[in-house]
Symmetry: C2
Subunit: 239 residues, 2 copies
């Protein structure tokens, strides 16, 4: 049965973590909002006041009668179906735990350009963004990325087991996103993160991911997504 992914059609955003899992899992799926009338269909589902299991926000995934929302929850649902998580229950809890930590970090990356309100433009919160971005670069990036580095070092280069999990795919995306948004910060901190950089390269070289990344299905990073490049928010990590 085909998966239907609902997410904003012009950004990678949180939908990208799901896209990467679907692609690496070899799943048959459609990116609904990128098809004709798909965006309207997504908005109808979001506005459906009668639904007993409504999604709060995209992304959400539909398969038959099942609708699953919240990025980490979608990945947890897909993991066993697409072979992207070990079989053991304790291992699955662990991978989900890492994914939730990635999700926390992604919120903080987003808030560097929206520290005051998601409904406001970046230009309306620029001084606050500069302060928050500096704290993010000097405090939060080393803390989170150092944690992920330690996890990979203790687990033979993957989050768990001996092959790629959905959390590894998400870590690839985090590295790619940070390189786009904060190239100077990443250049200064990457020498401390050999495992994370190696994982990024390993994921990018997976045949299905490589094919995806060079296809039109991969939306380019841009200034509307979670990772945005504002040169004034970037700079070397000073810790």
């Amino acid at each position: 049965m085909r998966y239907e992914l609902y997410y904003w059609p012009s950004i990678q955003g949180r939908g990208e973590y799901v896209r990467l899992a679907l692609e690496q899992g070899g799943a048959e799926y459609i990116d609904v909002a990128r098809t004709p009338k798909g965006l309207a269909a997504m908005k109808r589902l979001l506005a459906d006041g009668a639904a007993s299991r409504p999604p709060f926000a995209p992304p959400f995934l539909v398969r038959g009668k099942t609708l699953v929302a919240q990025t980490a929850n979608i990945l947890q649902y897909l993991g066993p179906k697409l072979g992207l998580v070990p079989k053991d229950e304790a291992e699955r809890l662990w991978v989900h735990q890492v994914q939730l930590t990635i999700a926390d970090f992604v919120v903080e990356a987003h808030d560097t350009h929206h520290p005051i309100g998601v409904g406001l433009y970046y230009d309306e919160q620029k001084p606050e963004s500069k302060r928050r971005a500096k704290d993010f670069r000097d405090q939060r990036m080393p803390k989170y990325l150092g944690y992920f580095e330690r996890v990979l070092a203790r687990n033979r280069g993957f989050t768990a087991g001996r092959k790629v999990t959905y959390a590894d795919l998400s870590l690839f995306q985090v590295v790619a996103g940070l390189r786009y948004a904060f190239p100077r910060a990443m250049r200064s901190i990457e020498p401390r993160l050999p495992q994370l950089v190696a994982l990024h390269d390993r994921v990018a070289a997976l045949p299905r991911i490589a094919a995806y990344l060079s296809s039109p299905r991969r939306i380019a990073f841009n200034q509307f997504g979670i990772f945005r490049h504002y040169p004034e928010l970037d700079g070397p990590v000073r810790t």
Copy 2:
């Protein structure tokens, strides 16, 4: 087997969602960091560079050889063991989805007094806090609370099934926390949230929860937790 909860000993914080589940589930547990030498034990576990499954931050729960971190992940782990989630797999995904949405909202509630950096004092980010808190009251509270209200209205007053789930316990905590932090905002918006208010009261009246709330195990709200009362950040919801 006894559960060991590790969390900061002087605040409700994120640990409170776990405490409420353990209490309502009638679990045998110890709140480790509140026992003699417990805080040092927690810090040792956090600093253990050799662990292959390290927690990023408290809360985390230990049972025998299992260590689970990330609040929503802990609750998902406890749910079936403590009878706080329906049996059906799709229902469990749904309850977890609601919990993750609560978690997102809790981050935003926290960031009203820390919009620039968690490592900075409130006094170092007061003007930014005022702007963020206004956005939170006028935009985010109605959006999230309206969503939870709709969910309860479509599901007979609970998140799922016919009895309390861990997500319902967490919604109780959200209402209690917002009433402490934003009393004026809550007074102005509660008339629009009859289901949520009713759920709060129903949870507070559960015998085990009522006993817990009036015990010394319940830490009082204070100015170090996630929900903090700064009068200058409060005001009526204008939407």
